[in-house]
């Protein structure tokens, strides 16, 4: 995805170095090849299941024991991480291999940023002139998005909550996500016309996060 990457290219390089540098590619022999495969699968499982709700710093800057990582995976699955049961083992093996021993894989110095730089990714864009139709958007949302993001857009089996999220005030980014997709979200470039995108955005903007009174 490109919609946020260009802002922090240096950060990405640091991340790649931390995340990927220590994988044991140089190993040989059938057992090591197996382990190499499992770690690669685990890394994929991490990428596909652990980055939709929070950035990787939440994970890759932690150093936890196998027991603690297993508990984190269970907690996150309970909270909505769509980890397939058969991937749990390789994900755990991967996390333990990379992010357990602070001596073997020390946590690097954190990024430094001004507040303005840090807020750049969530700050609202200038308001748009053209507005979509929320009623049409509701129907379009129900048929294209609800399976993943849930009927009320509060998050479903595969998609995150969209209610009152900053991306709704960032129409350029919103359109980019819709057209190109992000990780497990498919792109809708061919399926949705620009008016349909605007209609869906208009409907999403009407949603509010509320709890029923007890």
């Amino acid at each position: 995805m490109i919609h946020r990457s260009p802002v922090f290219p240096a950060a990405c390089a640091v991340f790649l170095a931390t995340l990927l540098g220590a994988l044991p590619f140089a190993m040989s022999g059938p057992e090591n090849a197996d382990r190499e495969d499992r770690l690669a699968d685990g890394q994929l499982a991490f990428r596909n299941n652990c980055l939709m709700c929070h950035a990787e710093e939440m994970v890759v800057r932690s150093r936890l024991t196998e027991k603690q990582w297993a508990a984190e995976i269970d907690k996150m699955v309970g909270w909505g991480a769509p980890v397939p049961p058969e991937s749990k083992g390789v994900l755990l093996e991967y996390l333990v291999s990379q992010f357990s021993d602070p001596k073997a894989s020390p946590v690097g110095p954190p990024q430094r940023m001004t507040l303005a730089e840090a807020l750049a990714a969530t700050r609202p864009e200038a308001p748009e002139k053209t507005q979509g139709d929320a009623n049409r958007g509701a129907a379009l949302y129900a048929s294209n998005c609800a399976t993943c993001h849930g009927p009320e857009a509060r998050g479903g089996d595969l998609g995150t909550c969209l209610v009152e999220k900053p991306v709704l005030l960032r129409p350029t980014e919103f359109r980019q996500v819709l057209r190109q997709g992000v990780r497990r979200m498919p792109g809708f470039q061919l399926a949705l016309k620009p008016e349909a995108e605007a209609d869906i955005l208009a409907w999403l903007r009407t949603r509010r996060f509320e709890l029923a009174a007890p």
Binding site: A13, L19, L20, F25, M58, G80, G108, P166
Partner: protein
Amino acid sequence: MSRNGMNQGDESSFLSGRRDWLRTAGALAAGAAAPQWLRDGTAFAEEKPGGSESKMIVRCLRPLDLESPVEVFDSFLTPNDMFFVRSHFGAPAVELTTWRLAVRGLIERPLSLSLDDLKELPQATLPAVLQCSGNGRSNYAPTVPGIGWGKGAVGNAEWGGVRLVDVLKRAGLKLDEGHVHMLGGDAPPSAKTPVFLRSLPLTQALHPSTLIATRMNGEPLPVQHGGPLRVVVPGWAGHNWIKWLRTITVAKEEAPGTYQQSGYRMPKVPAPPGADLKPSDLVPVTTMPVKSLIARPSAGARLKAGRVEVRGVAWTGTGHVTAVHVSTGPNAPWQPATLLDDERPGTWRRWRWMLDSARPGRLQVRVRATDSNGQTQPETTPWNRSGYLWNGIDSIECEII
């Protein structure tokens, strides 16, 4: 960091095959010269000098968790743009909504108050320390899950707004004992993720210093700090200071759900790692223990021999700070520092102490505060599994040249 944590280039290599993607990235990492922190194995290189003091320390970009560099604490009030930022699910798009505060539950008159309605209530302003309950988490060994805060998930601001008690009075309380549930506009990322619903015991909610803040250091409360409305509970740790406040519910019981019933709890009696704790062994994390930080000189500073003023801040959750002591090494005597500012609960006091060093070489400076309850900072705080309320003695190393 970008949403997917990968740069543009790797997306295509990712698609072209898992192994190829891994190899490219591995080669990239191997090609770069290992930085110093990797070579000498120091875990907390971030405490070393080098970073610009005007930049925040990034703990996580989504949700945004930013830490203040300690040099910022060389001042009574912490500026808004250098004040630490923390939330569980990230700031909501507050600009989408005409903000209203709903008051409901065991009250006479349910309310829906606009920001203008709040302006008509009596206004209150007070300075108070806001500290994340996890500040200093990175000091705990063995390490625990959660944001690995160093020293700077704390700050002191002047908060302005209305008293929570005035809002509750206007709604007409129906009970004397109970709890006030608080919910913000920040929706969790999944319908399966617990909502960040918290409650305050009514006694604390009725305390005149408990505010619904609309202003911070004289400015409208910035969104990243909870604007337009945030609860302020002086003396209590940050997880009680609900941001983006939208709903208040008065109830007999504490708030239900993970964040009140199992999160933010600590053992009554310190328990070692692996101890089997029952829910009844745990109590909610409320007030902050006494603590102090050195703001100047910076860790790792190279100082000319002679007189150098050491400065910092000290605070506590109940009462006020009565003494701060400084020493220049683990076995050196504790010497009293000069305290500034009022003996006022909830906020911090600055302190200063003159270091007079004739001998060149490395020097450790340590600081320890004592409060009006007779509590003094411990050498290290007993371990707890979520890494809350660290208040071990602060120290820095400098070099006299």
